[in-house]
Structures are given as C-alpha cells and as structure tokens.
Amino acid sequence: MSQDRKTSGKSGPLLEVKDLHMHFPVREGVFRRARHWCRAVDGVSLTVGRGETIGLVGESGCGKSTLGRCIVRLLKPTSGKITFEGTDLTHLRQRELRPHRRHVQMVFQDPVDSLNSRHTVGQTLAEPFQIHRIGDARWRRTRVKELLEKVGLPGSAAERYPFEFSGGQRQRIGIARAIALEPSLIICDEPVSALDVSIQSQVLNLLLDLQRDMNLSYLFIAHNLAVVKHVSDRIAIMYLGRIVEHASSETIHRNPRHPYTRALLSAILEPDPTLNRQRIVLQGDVPSPISPPSGCPFHTRCPHVTDRCRTEVPLLREAAPGHQVSCHYDL
C-alpha cells in the first residue's frame, strides 16, 4: 500500500510551502486584546522533493521551528499554503488531517521531553499503529522489535522505560517512532544538538542510512551550519521569519551571497587551529520579531548597510540558477 502512495503523483514536489505566514498575537491588558503581532514566520516559500534533504538554518527566534510545526500542522498558519503530495493541508481540520499525519512525521530536539516517561518504549512505538488501527497486538509487537533493530537498539528495549536509556539511545527511539508508519517526510528539529559529539555522528549516520533505505525526505532544522551542510542537498538560511538565502549546500558553502550567510559561515569554529580565517563578527542582537526593523530585516546588523536597506524590503530574487538571495546588492 505504501508503494502505491510513493509512486503516485511523482511529478510534483513532495511538499510545497507557499508564502506562509504564522503570526502570534501578543495579548495585553484586561481584555487580553491582541496589541501586537509576533511575526514568527513571515512569507516563507520552499519545496522539498522526494528523497531530498532541505536544511533550514538560523539562530534562536528566526522562526525555523515554527515553520516546521506549521508543516506538520501542529500549528495552523495565519496565511499561505502548504501542499503535500498534491493535497492542500492548510485548512484541513484535525480529523481530516489524520490520514496525512502518517506521511509527515517529526523528530524533536529533546529526546527526554518528547517521550512519555510512564510508557514503556514498546507502548510508545505501538501507539502510531493503534491510532491508525494497523495490525493486531501480536503484529505490532513484532513490528516494534523490527523498528528498534532498524535504529540500532536491541528488541528487548521495548520492555524498558525511557529513563533507562542515554540521550543518544532516546533519540534513536524518537527516530523509530517517526519512521513507524513509513512516512515520506520527516521534520527533524535540531535532532542532534542536545547530544554529545561522539553520539552526534552516530545519529547523523542513522538518519542518512534510513533516508537511503526508505527514500525519505527530510526538512532538517538546526543552528549548526556545518552539521546541516553535511546532511542537506539544499539549504535555506532564515532570519527574522524570512528566508534570506536558498541554494544547494555546496553553493552556500563556496559562494554565499547574503551578508548574514557569510557571517554565519565565518562564525563556524572549525576544529583546526591552523586555519586563520578572518571572522565577520556581527554587532548587536537579533531584533525582536514583534517589532522587526523597517526595510531589510538584517539592516541593523549588516556591515554593508546603505540607506536603501533601511527603507526598502529586498525581495528573494534569483541571483543565479537555483540560487535565491534577498539582498539589494551583489556583494
């Protein structure tokens, strides 16, 4: 059955996000009126193809996690359109969403908070099958064992509780839950940033192996550009709710055009003391998405700022084939 789904409608992209906005009300006063709006995601468009990994990079508060949560429809976006395998998910009600839910899954950053501490690992992993009424108890038990082995854990882990596992093992359990229903897209929200260095590479390898075996697509959300570059085909850089640059990961690395991307790249500390690169140290902090700056959202920290940047919002334009950048200038 899953085979039919994966071969049908192969022409278009798997996921298409168009001009997505997610604005949260900031309520104040006795009547809790919305006095301000926090523009967490402010007009984002992107596509994810089958078997492809799109990296989404940005600093805290740039809206990358909110975007991920909109796509799995944990949040209902303010406006815009989310099309998954040709179906418009934007306005579906919870009940109507259910058949789609099994195709889009999520892996969270904190493997401690995202697992129910009162359920055994087996119960947690069997839950997707119960919700979608797949198989009987015996079939589910076998399937749970298969899933655990697939993510590199012993089948006996099913009888144990989350606290009995290390961070890396818990993240493997989170990944097992995400792949249980054989989804075609997994949103990975900072999946390795809470893990130790030697465990990070194990989990990244697991994600790459699963992608190859199951033809998965990933939206890989992280702040570490080196990690994202390693797993992604294309990378979108976000700043204050918008995509400021979008290109293949090689292009982002070799030929970054947006000053923010350049600063992010130069802030990566490579484990090599012989490298003596000129660092671009940005001044100041990220402005608040409640009152974003006029014009280009990056102009308050940009080393190349001009008067035009303070007033005119740059559009995301095609600077080269497959390379979009939102800056007035070719730097």
Binding site: T53, E59, S60, S166, G168, Q169, D196, V197, S198, I199, Q200, S201, Q202, L204, N205, L208, D209, H223, N224, L225, A226, V227, K229, H230, V231, S232, D233, S249, E250, H253, A263, L264, L265, S266, A267, I268, L269, E270, P271, D272, P273, T274, L275, R279, V281, L282, Q283, D285, V286, R301
Partner: protein, 332 residues
C-alpha cells in the same frame, strides 16, 4: 620559565551516592601557564566541570568531596593548595583572585536583583566598602565588557537583557576584581553562533588587556582550536591526552582524541557521506572498566588495556595515556 598560575597534581574527586562512592575525577594532573588559555575538552560526564568546581571549591555539598591530590595556586608570590585551604581563605580567593563564568547566564544571575547590585556585591566583598564607589566601578566594568549605555543598564534586571548581554554581565562579575585566573565553563554553549563569536572575541581582548590566565571548559573542539594554547582531553574522569593545541590537532595520539576529531562534520567533508563514529557510549561512573576506560569503544584494544596505561611524554608537553600510542597508524 615562570611558575604556572595553577598546578593540579593527582586530583581525585568523588561523590557519595546510594550505590557507594563514585570517583568522577581520578588522578588528573595539569598546569595552567601564566597568561595563557588552557582548554579542557570532553563529553558529558568526563569530569571537566567537576574539575572546575573543585578548583573553586564549589562541589555540591554534602555529597561531593576532594579525595586526594593538590591544587596549587601561585599568585602574587604566594602558593596555596586549594584542595586543603580553609574555607575563609577560599572565600578571599574565590571571586577575587579566581573568577568563574558559568554556562547558563540566566541561572548564574539573581533574577530579583539589578545588574548593578549584583556586580557591586562582588566589589564590596573584595575591593571597597563604599557603595557609591562600588556602583561606579560596576558601570565601568560593564562598559569594558561591551554593554551599551552601562549607566542605564546597571539599574536593569537580568530578564531585561538578551542571552549574549547576560553572558557579558557574568563575565563582568568574574573579572570585576581583576583575577589572576578565570574559569569559563561552557561560556558560549547556550548562545547563538553570531553571539558566540562576539563573546569569544571579548574574552580574548580582556585576556590581552588584563594578562590573566583562562581555563576554558567545553565540548566543542572548534572553540578549543580557536581560543586555546594548550588542551587537556578528558575521558571518564581521567586525562586521555594533553599538550599544545597545534600539536594535539595535527598529531592526536590517543584513539579517543582521534575518534573525536574524525567524527565531526566539517564544511569540507563531502555531503551525505557517512561520518566516522566512535562506537558505543561513555560508560557510567558506576560501571567503569578496570584499566583503560576507553577500551570498550577502542578500535585498537589489546589485552594489555585491562591495565591502566601510564601517562607517557611523546615530546615537549605532549602527553598521552595509551599503551599503544607508538603503534597507531599516522593520523589522516
């Protein structure tokens, strides 16, 4: 050569638990040369933070205690063993001659006191009895760590500042008394990358200006490469390898150091290729293997590894604790 500002010899630190005494740090020795930055790198539970808290004598009470070894602090021609010094003397040194920067600035600051009051507290304890003067000094220090309009900021509370600004305040508190040594425990881990760059640059500037020594504790080998002169690699409570940074990164001689260096994704590694991994995970303190503690994850394990390897000098200051360092293939 001048005496190092800090010499640690055979430090052992343990915690009393329901399951008996756990040795979190076991036989750790290193020197911090004057005016330089020493990095301590390792994963969670390797004992790097416990080492730092032992130097400050801030181990959680009553469970944590120093079991043995010496922590010699050489300052202004005096030498003291911080492992045994009495609490009153430690009170004089802590915050005054040794400052500390913690990972999470929000929990290191008191949420119900203004920045100015917290900074003045350090100064009133060690430097002056005049509250007005202390506040004026606080303003000056805040300016020095790059906080804009410090005379307004002193009256603000921690929640009114961004993460990067809070960390600047914590650094200001650590440096308020111009210490001989600053211990920074994961000072940038909770910060965004562009803010991390700002804070690291600030620490380098202040070190140049004040001539202090720094112990920088981190899990990030990139931060070590950027900031440190020498590095100590810790694993499961012991030193695996130590030496000058350039030497350790070009000639890592412990299988653990090699594993760490080759498992990090870099910008130059080909995309979507499998990364090298260190198999398995760090053993818990309750189930440490006898002998070399890395043996159950080590690709070079031999029978001799069930005996604890001695610390051997390879050259200069480069030391390693591995039976097989001579036989390892060249590091690519």
């Amino acid at each position: 050569m001048s005496t190092p500002v800090l010499s640690i010899r055979d430090l052992a630190v343990g915690f009393d638990t329901d399951g008996g005494l756990l040795r979190a740090v076991d036989g750790v020795s290193f020197d911090v040369p004057r005016g330089t930055t020493l990095g301590i790198v390792g994963e969670s539970g390797c004992g790097k933070s416990v080492t730092a808290f032992s130097i400050m004598r801030l181990l959680p009470q009553p469970s944590g205690r120093i079991l043995g070894g010496r922590i010699e602090f050489h300052d202004n021609g005096r030498s003291e063993d911080l492992a045994t010094v009495d609490p009153e003397e430690m009170h004089r040194i802590r915050g005054n001659r040794i400052g500390m920067v913690f990972q999470e600035p929000l929990s290191a600051l008191n949420p119900v006191q203004t920045i100015g009051r917290q900074l003045s507290e350090v100064l009133l304890l060690h430097r002056t009895n005049d509250k007005r003067q202390a506040l004026a000094m606080a303003v000056e220090i805040l300016g020095k760590v790059g906080i804009p309009s410090p005379e307004i900021r002193v009256a603000e509370y921690p929640h009114q500042l961004s993460g990067g600004m809070r960390q600047r305040v914590v650094i200001a508190m650590a440096l308020a008394c111009k210490p001989a040594l600053m211990i920074a425990d994961e000072p940038t881990t909770a910060l965004d990358v562009t803010i991390q760059a700002q804070i690291l640059e600030l620490m380098q500037e202040l070190q140049r200006e004040l001539g202090m020594s720094i112990i920088l504790i981190t899990h990030d080998l990139g931060v070590i490469a950027e900031m440190c002169d020498e590095v100590v690699v810790m694993y499961a409570g012991r030193v695996a390898e130590s030496g000058p940074v350039a030497r350790i990164f070009s000639h890592p001689s412990h299988p653990y150091t090699r594993g760490l260096l080759s498992s990090i994704p870099r910008l130059t590694t080909p995309g979507k290729a499998r990364l090298n991994v260190i198999e398995g995970m760090v053993p818990t303190l309750a189930e440490l293997p006898a002998g070399c503690r890395f043996q159950n994850r080590c690709p070079f394990r031999v029978d001799a590894c069930s005996n604890q390897p001695p610390i051997e000098t390879i050259q200069d200051k480069h030391e390693v604790a591995c039976h097989r360092w001579r036989e390892l293939p060249p590091f690519a």
